[in-house]
């Protein structure tokens, strides 16, 4: 299965869309916004380019995409004013897989342009926003055209399910799970780790041709604390998904064989694993590395935490699940998912960890 042709966040603006169910991702990005803005301001003050290239890798579709651009552009405009200089021309590159819902982002662009230009001298800022579809595990952009790369909640997605978890007959050896879990044979964790190393090093290598010297990258992704591959925080959500699918198997709604063969193309690395690849690649230095957690959203009391989590995960996983199991089971699956999340959270407050990295091109 070619991931590039299947995997995408749920498009559009409907109830189950990513647009309507990505407040968790927004809170993650907001939590480290000060780091993101500091990084771009530092880069700008050092290099003062007349034409500034900014890329968002894994931009997805929805309000977060465009609010990111606004924040970054505003930060640079502020920086320019402080230096008594006119703002640079902005080239914005929005990247995601070809199956991403770019149409919805594009339709919102005229309003974004209007907002950015409101109250300013005619035509300012000069800003050109384009969509670049493709996998970021490989080249995406012309040589040396970028000064700043932002990637949030994308790099924990691998380029494919690691081939190492399939035996010679093509069956998955990870029978009692869909990700690395306590029940997984050790080879499973190794296979996932190998795939991550391959992917992340390719990511760094590709970006090194595209980013100018002194350019910055801010990467936000899910991670895990400590070397142990079986990590409660990250594995939690996948285990719940596995158990929800298993419930549907026991009710006869899904064939057991289908569940056995379902695996996710995800990996939450440890700090050391990330640092290792950066060091090995050698084109970037790690300016900053921080870990953070996102608090439960206590604001919205109209639906349970479990239900909200279920909607969030659904908007992310729907494309892969319906490709493997069909669409009919989605509603039941995520109802069960929400219920299980609430049950588990009542026993123990489980949080996943995120990393934010700032890299500088050498």
């Amino acid at each position: 299965m070619d991931l590039e042709k299947v995997f995408h966040m749920k498009g559009g603006l409907g109830e189950t869309s990513y647009s309507k169910n990505s407040s968790l991702q927004k809170r993650a990005a907001d939590k480290v916004k000060h780091i993101t803005l500091e990084a771009i301001e530092e880069m700008f003050v050092e290099s003062r380019p007349k034409s500034l290239g900014i890329a968002d890798l894994g931009c997805s579709s929805g309000p977060n995409t465009l609010s990111n651009i606004k924040e970054l552009v505003n930060a640079i405009e502020r920086g320019s004013r402080k230096l008594f200089e006119p703002a640079p021309e902005f080239r914005v590159y929005l990247n995601d897989l070809p199956t991403n819902d770019f149409n919805t982002i594009f339709q919102a662009l005229p309003d974004l342009y209007r907002e950015l230009k409101k109250g300013k001298k005619h035509g300012n800022p000069s800003i050109y926003i384009a969509g670049y579809p493709g996998t970021f595990y490989g080249r995406l952009f012309p040589d040396k055209c970028l000064h700043f790369i932002y990637s949030s909640n994308s790099l924990h997605w691998l380029s494919r399910v690691p081939p190492g978890i399939y035996n010679e007959k093509g069956e998955s050896i990870n029978r009692k799970g869909i990700y690395i879990s306590e029940n997984s044979p050790p080879r499973v964790a190794q296979a996932y780790f190998q795939q991550f190393k391959h992917d992340f090093s390719l990511f760094l290598r590709s970006r090194s041709e595209e980013v100018v010297i002194g350019g910055r990258m801010v990467l936000i992704l899910l991670g895990r604390n400590g070397p142990n591959h079986v990590d409660r925080g990250t594995a939690f959500l996948w285990e719940i998904l596995y158990r929800s699918l298993a419930t549907l198997v026991s009710k006869g709604e899904i064939e057991e064989e289908k569940l056995d063969s379902y695996e996710v193309h995800f990996y939450a690395p440890s700090k050391e694993e990330v640092e290792d690849e950066i060091r090995k690649d050698g084109s970037f230095k790690l300016d900053r590395f921080e870990m953070f957690e996102i608090e439960k959203d206590t604001g919205n009391s109209s639906s349970s935490y479990g239900k909200a989590m279920a909607m969030t995960v659904r908007s992310i996983q729907e494309s892969m699940i319906s490709h493997h199991f069909g669409e009919a089971i989605l509603d039941n699956l995520f109802e069960e998912y929400g219920r299980l999340v609430d049950e588990e959270m009542a026993k123990e407050d489980i949080r996943s960890i995120s990393f934010v990295l700032v890299l500088q091109k050498l």
Binding site: N103, F106, Y113, G123, Y128, F141
Partner: protein, 379 residues
């Protein structure tokens, strides 16, 4: 009607989609091939593009035509560099259309497209970058001096807005019973259209002049006319028949007369003279070529493209020529008509339109006039 928000070709791949009903536009692209080739080769000869070449298609739409054009241009660059032994420049390819265009449809085809480039021409991922730049081309789209070759086909006859004098939200309807310039229209209707065209086309040229390097080329194809008379059949008949179809529904009480009176197409088919004088006045480009081609309403004889041949064969089994033409027109104008007249009447409208077209075909060989213009950016 906010044209930039409303105008888009019918999305997806269904029966009434643009993807399935764009053989006329494909024919238009193919008649310009030798002019495109000439322009691209000149660009390469001037060595402007040694390392990195910026190529843009304005009004790229979606469906099979979009990547066909890009493929042709890449073929020309590839063929030429092979001949001269120069290395292939990095290709930066920008697809532009209004934000409401179905870009998702194009993107889904990209992985296959890149794969073929690699297999057929050994062009690696780092040799070719295809992106989408949504926005109106009546305004700046690209950074300064970033482009070497710009192509635009079947797009510049769309105006940025319905001419102001015809905007009946403010004034009494000037063009009653009609939706474009017609034999019975007042001369002020033509004046309004011409004035809007001049303003739009000049702005288009001015914006492109900032984005294209000196010596860079522009090849434009759009609907026009050879006659000095703006109400000539060659430039108005498709709208005339559409207006007739609407009026027949007015007579039966299916459509409000006021609706027809207040609708005017944001479209203009200029004469070669009008185009020439606008370009010369704007003064950023020299004209290398300005030619007119006749294009049959139903796309004419099958093109060399096997894919479209298959479609033509299937379609022709069950549909009259009038019905085929109606489908091509519907794929293009439906978004605008729906907003104004309502979705419910579309099927009936195009059924009647097809009948009127069939009638017209029985006495006339119906043709569009397609103008092809090749320009070079001046110093």
């Amino acid at each position: 009607m906010e044209v930039t928000q409303v105008l888009h070709m019918n999305k997806g791949e269904g029966e009434t989609s643009y993807a399935k009903n764009s053989i006329v536009q494909m024919k238009i692209i193919s008649v310009a091939t030798s002019i495109i080739e000439e322009a691209v080769v000149e660009c390469l000869e001037k060595k402007l593009t040694a390392e990195s070449m910026g190529i843009a298609d304005l009004g790229c739409s979606s469906g099979p035509n979009t990547l066909m054009v890009i493929s042709e241009i890449i073929d020309i660059v590839y063929g030429r560099t092979n001949k001269t032994g120069n290395p292939l420049p990095e290709l930066r390819i920008y697809l532009n259309d209004l934000p409401g265009n179905d870009f998702n449809n194009i993107f889904i085809s990209l992985p296959e497209f890149y794969k073929k480039l690699k297999i057929n021409k050994n062009i690696a991922q780092e040799g070719c970058f295809i992106s989408a730049m949504p926005g109106s081309f009546y305004g700046r789209l690209f950074p300064k001096k970033s482009l070497h070759f710009v192509h635009s086909s079947s797009s510049l006859h769309w105006l940025s807005q319905v001419p102001r004098a015809l905007d009946s939200s403010i004034l009494k309807p000037l063009n009653k019973g009609k939706i474009y310039i017609s034999k019975s229209s007042l001369s002020s209707v033509h004046d309004a259209y011409l004035s809007q065209f001049k303003r739009d086309f000049s702005l288009f040229l001015k914006c492109r002049s900032k984005e294209i390097v000196v010596g860079g080329h522009l090849v434009l194809s759009f609907m026009g006319r050879v006659s000095a008379d703006p109400s000539s059949e060659e430039s108005c008949m498709q709208w005339e028949l559409l207006a007739q179809a609407l009026m027949s529904m007015v007579l039966e009480g299916l459509v409000e007369e006021e609706k027809v009176d207040s609708f005017n197409a944001p479209y203009y088919a200029p004469s070669a003279e009008e185009v020439r004088s606008t370009i010369e006045e704007e003064d950023s480009f020299t004209i290398n070529r300005l030619e007119a081609f006749e294009i049959d309403w139903d796309g004419g004889a099958p093109s060399n493209n096997n894919f479209q041949n298959k479609i033509n064969k299937i379609e022709k089994y069950n549909l009259s020529r009038g019905q085929q033409v109606a489908k091509t027109i519907r794929a293009v104008v439906e978004s605008m008509l729906e907003i104004h007249f309502g979705r419910e009447i579309m099927d009936e409208l195009f059924k009647r339109y097809a009948e009127l077209v069939d009638d017209y075909f029985s006495t006339t060989r119906a043709k569009y006039i397609d103008l092809v213009i090749s320009l070079t950016k001046k110093d």
